[in-house]
Symmetry: C2
Subunit: 337 residues, 2 copies
């Protein structure tokens, strides 16, 4: 067949247009250097041949990638998937914020098995910067990378002396807020649901302790180290609550997912919320509004958080050393307390 060969690159289009490749490049990039008539002719030909310049070649030349790596370290549980609605909500918000700034989002889920799990992203030349969602138990590794790689921002708790730039709510204040609310609603025997191995949850527990201590209720609440992932720890929750003598009258759940798991387990045990036990969560995810009863929670504004992550990263890519952002939590009272 006499079908003309496909235009594969700028040189091909230049040949058809009767100009040089440089002129084609400038025409397609709307450079002021190319005559308007020539520019329109070249653009029409590009459209006619369904031609778009190769982004990788361009990025190699301009030494930018146009992509941001979003890395989710998922702890050491290799079977775990990105199912936590928190991660996912954050991911969606980041996708939108990055698209608005003309960046592509390169998603990677990693299992931090060795100390340099982040290096293959920082040193690959594949992304212009990296956003890590969640510190897991890797704060030290993140500090190490941050010492030599500036365009890195982490969603997570801030701690004095940390090197890496982070965005997150004031977890201590949030834990305090949640606990104070339960105390104000009459609770005297408060438990904490969540695994404090992760920095954020550890900080929320610290806030819980502070509020209890202030109220003269001791400073050592019982802790049920419920897994962050949905639907895993039902049995351990049931076991924790089986002993009616030891049963708490209020539960600070370290995340909305843990709260939802808890609500379901309580429902199945025939324990009424909030009459018998009051439950409060953390995050204020859209999904949490669906619980029965509707969940009281500590809101961290994820939209603002995502925008802060992207804003700080852009500034760090530009060469600035930014400080961390710690956002104030807000109490959202619904019917589970």
């Amino acid at each position: 067949m006499s079908e003309e060969p496909k235009v594969r690159n700028i040189s091909d289009l230049a040949r058809i247009a009767g100009v040089s490749a440089g002129t084609v490049s400038r025409a397609l990039a709307d450079s002021g250097l190319v005559n308007e008539k020539t520019r329109a002719m070249i653009k029409a030909l590009a459209r006619e041949h369904d031609f778009r310049p190769n982004i990788m070649a361009r990025n190699l030349r301009i030494q930018k990638t146009g992509a941001i790596g979003v890395v989710i370290p998922l702890g050491h549980d290799t079977g775990q998937h990105i199912s936590d609605p928190f991660f996912i909500t954050m991911l969606g918000l980041l996708a939108d914020a990055l698209t608005e700034r003309g960046y592509d989002l390169m998603l990677s889920r990693v299992i931090p098995t060795d100390e340099d799990w982040l290096d293959r992203f920082t040193d690959s030349g594949r992304v212009d910067g990296i956003i890590v969602i969640g510190q897991s138990d890797q704060a030290a590794a993140l500090d190490k990378v941050a010492m030599r790689y500036r365009p890195l921002v982490v969603w997570g708790g801030h701690q004095k002396g940390q090197v890496h730039c982070s965005v997150g709510s004031d977890n201590v204040a949030g834990g305090d807020l949640a606990t104070t609310h339960l105390i104000e609603r009459g609770c005297r025997r408060i438990a904490f649901f969540g695994d404090p191995t992760a920095r954020e949850l550890k900080q929320r527990l610290a806030g819980c302790r502070a509020a209890l201590s202030r109220a003269g209720l001791g400073d050592d609440p019982r802790v049920c180290p419920v897994h962050l992932a949905a639907g895993i720890d039902d049995a351990s929750i049931s076991q924790f609550l089986a002993d009616e003598q030891q049963r708490p009258d209020g539960i600070v759940a370290a995340s909305d997912v843990i709260a939802m798991t808890t609500l379901r387990a309580l429902s199945e045990m025939g324990i009424a919320v909030p009459a018998d036990i009051k439950v409060i969560g953390y995050d204020n995810l859209p999904i949490a509004e669906h619980t029965v009863p509707r969940l009281s929670t500590v809101k961290q504004d994820l939209t603002t958080g995502a925008n802060n992550l992207v804003e700080l990263l852009m500034r760090r890519i530009a060469g600035e050393d930014t400080g961390s952002v710690v956002m104030p939590p807000e109490l959202v009272v619904r019917t589970s307390t």
Copy 2:
């Protein structure tokens, strides 16, 4: 300071090693052509200088990108975010499946405002192939792209005569299964919750109609076009169910999210599930197991689906024309029916 300059590329490392750039490239790539002693020396130097080859330059030369585009068309609602837990569960599964095959995942959320919304991905040279999650109302546009771009696979409903390769459950069978189940549980006045503009939901409604017709219950159920996104249509659900004379005794919810929204609305109206109205969903997401009561649903195996998407895409990247995959739905009976 007398700090030696950073090794920025293979030429820099070659100079330090006293060999050519080609030898360094081959040594780092474990090519059999390089002497073992030389190879070890070069690798040690690379480690010592924290050097990793630039992936973009390599990809330009080998004419592969090492990335797969995952595109989520979100309908025409520009304010919508990637919050649907279905999308997100699928995203996590895809991230894992692609990582296992050595690919990076480039995430893009797009609003299909014009007819060639997908072209900027297909023609950019940025990705080796594309997975689209959800057809929205864009089946025709997807067919158009599929005619000229082979490495494209879509999560969604299959339809005779379609050009694009798709993976999804048999939505007609799934809608039939859900409706038959409600009929077997005694329902006689069944409604469909979901907006049939999207092909998948339209097919689920068709299955619902078929089951009703077979049971002699007419073939035109009332449809409440509930939005797929969480928490939006509470008011319209309440209004739909306000008239006790018209109230259905069974609801086929076109997705688990719609089902969750429905369960919450019913709870607030004081309507008992399943005693007064039976509710069944679609998808079998992990989150849906948290509802009170636990949701009966039609399961489409997302893990298998994600693996199928990636498997078909790999084959199409390799040049093969694959057919679509239509997976059988399964009924999962819990306590909402």
